[in-house]
Amino acid sequence: MSLQVENLTVYYRTLRGDVQALENATFTIADGEIMGLAGESGCGKTTLGHSLIYLKPPMRFIEGRVTLDNEELPIWDMERMNEFRFKKISIIPQYAMNAMNPTRKIGKMTAEILESRKVSYKATLPELKRRLDLVELSHDVLNMYPIELSGGMKQRMVMVLSTLLNPSLLIADEITSALDVSTQKAVAEMLVGFRDRGFVKSLMVITHDISILYQIADSIMIMYAGQLAEKASTQVIIHNPRHPYTKMLIGSLPKVGVKHSKQRLAGIPGKPPLLLNPPVGCRFRERCPVAFDKCFDVPPFIEIEPGHFVACWKEFESNA
């Protein structure tokens, strides 16, 4: 087991109280697995990704245990995590493209990051160049400033940078959402290539674009309002989802070859709840077409078939 997360609960502290952005998450990512993490905006995907590596205020660690390659990660301790960051677990943050320091040349920035981890830039340079070739970036980018790169180039650069030390786990947060379709395809396929070449052991690909996950992910985990709803292999999630939310989510995806004037696709009615004061029980209850009284308790995240986890009372009932 590469990554193992148990009962992870993380809140945001605000003036008006705690935002319960991640509640009791328990899941694993196997060696070599590319796990997609999808869900509506604001459901806590970034929170989950970040909490594994940069858990800092206003984020607040409530409880949970995270082990990576059988070693417990002290995620609640920003200092101690330094040892793991970048070397064992790495993240490409959402909007990383715009976060690069505009006054530093790419090469200099890389050197600084490496040296802050006590790794020699010189010794790493040949490997760096080899990887730039792999993502079809010319070596000249090292002498360029971030603004001189296009979005796709920056994204590939960040990919190379964050995997330079061959971490066990790479968390890629929305790295394709700002790219055009052709670059998206190239970048997504490069992620798979990184896994295949062993630059990273496993990947957590956060995106709202399920159709991209369908192309590259081995498994997909769906979140709703801070709770895990379902996790299964990609085929199962797309073709045979069991959680009512997943079903509606898959149904709402824009389909190729459909026209609004002929067939109007439907979104999911209603809105996700406020996480400052979320409803008790299953948080999907208010929008769920099949909810019943049992749903006032929180449904556990249970493996109903090998590798297929669901948190839904209705599903448990029909399975029983």
Binding site: R13, T14, L15, P57, P58
Partner: protein, 288 residues
């Protein structure tokens, strides 16, 4: 509920401002010295420049901070000096900041001709030898007050601030929120002051701190070569005198330390406040 109510915003700002320790500490020190500068001079009967007693006395109940080599009362010098230092710092630094900010913002936002003209003006002021101009002006004015001195200092110190702010403005004006304001029909002038300037708040305050410090030091130089206020006293002048008459070598620490410590404490307090303000202005840095 719908729109942001200014009162609420202000109170939230105040809430964070008052909770911020750096800001509280900085403000505390500053207020202490400010009160000292206002009240201090009334607590002594001695004039800062007249010879009040025996020379080179260490602090005593008669002369609280001791006396100088010439028998002047150090406490009186200090209290009066602090007052004029504050005046020079606030007025001189204030003018320098204000002019620099306005010119920098306009040049940076408008670009083109406006930028070129303002840039030229900045360069001219920058290369004029400040001191000689001041000497010439001083020669024409028989009686020089602390106010005149402050205005002079402010009017010659703004160029670097204008430069720095222009560069900041340049990078901010391409941000999309500025486009959004333009599409709301906001006038350029309003965009500059309501969209761009607030983003530089802590930077502007830093500029003010540097201008404040610079003004104090400039005033010290002017005072020292006799171009300061007629019969004036300032902390800078005190320090210069102390150094000149080898106070340290003679063991007269009481002459040197009060003005030095006060300048350091005031500028230091301003810096700490700046860091604190940064946290208050930038919602992302606020400690929850």
């Amino acid at each position: 509920m719908a729109q942001e109510r200014p009162k609420e915003v202000r109170s939230e700002f105040l809430y964070f401002a008052l909770r911020n320790r750096k800001l509280r500490v900085g403000l505390g020190i500053l207020v202490f010295f400010l009160l000292f500068a206002i009240i201090g001079p009334f607590l002594t009967e001695y004039d800062p420049n007249t010879y009040a007693g025996p020379s080179a006395q260490p602090p005593s109940s008669e002369f609280w901070f001791g006396t100088t080599t010439f028998g002047q009362d150090v406490y009186s010098q200090f209290a009066h000096g602090l007052r004029s230092t504050f005046i020079v710092g606030l007025i001189g630094g204030g003018i320098g900041t204000l002019v620099g900010v306005v010119i920098g913002l306009l040049a940076g936002y408008r670009g083109g001709m406006v930028d070129e003209i303002l840039n030229m003006l900045t360069n001219i002021v920058l290369i004029i030898p400040t001191l000689s101009v001041l000497i010439i002006i001083a020669a024409y004015l028989a009686v020089r007050g602390i106010l005149t001195e402050s205005v002079f200092i402010g009017l010659t110190a703004w160029p670097w601030a204008a430069r720095a702010i222009r560069a900041q403005t340049f990078s901010l004006r391409t941000r999309e929120f500025v486009d959004l304001a333009r599409m709301s029909g906001r006038s350029s002038l309003r965009i500059v002051f309501t969209e761009i300037a607030p983003n530089m708040m802590s930077y502007l305050f830093l500029v003010f701190i540097l201008q404040f410090g610079g003004a104090i030091l400039n005033a010290a130089t002017l005072d020292f070569i006799g171009l300061g206020p007629t019969r004036g006293m300032s902390l800078g002048l005190m320090m210069n005198n102390a150094v000149l008459w080898a106070a340290l070598q003679l063991g007269m620490w009481w002459w040197l330390i009060p003005p030095g410590a006060a300048i350091a404490a005031i500028v230091g307090a301003l810096y700490v406040m700046n860091v604190g303000l940064d946290e208050v202005f930038n919602p992302k840095l606020r400690e929850m």
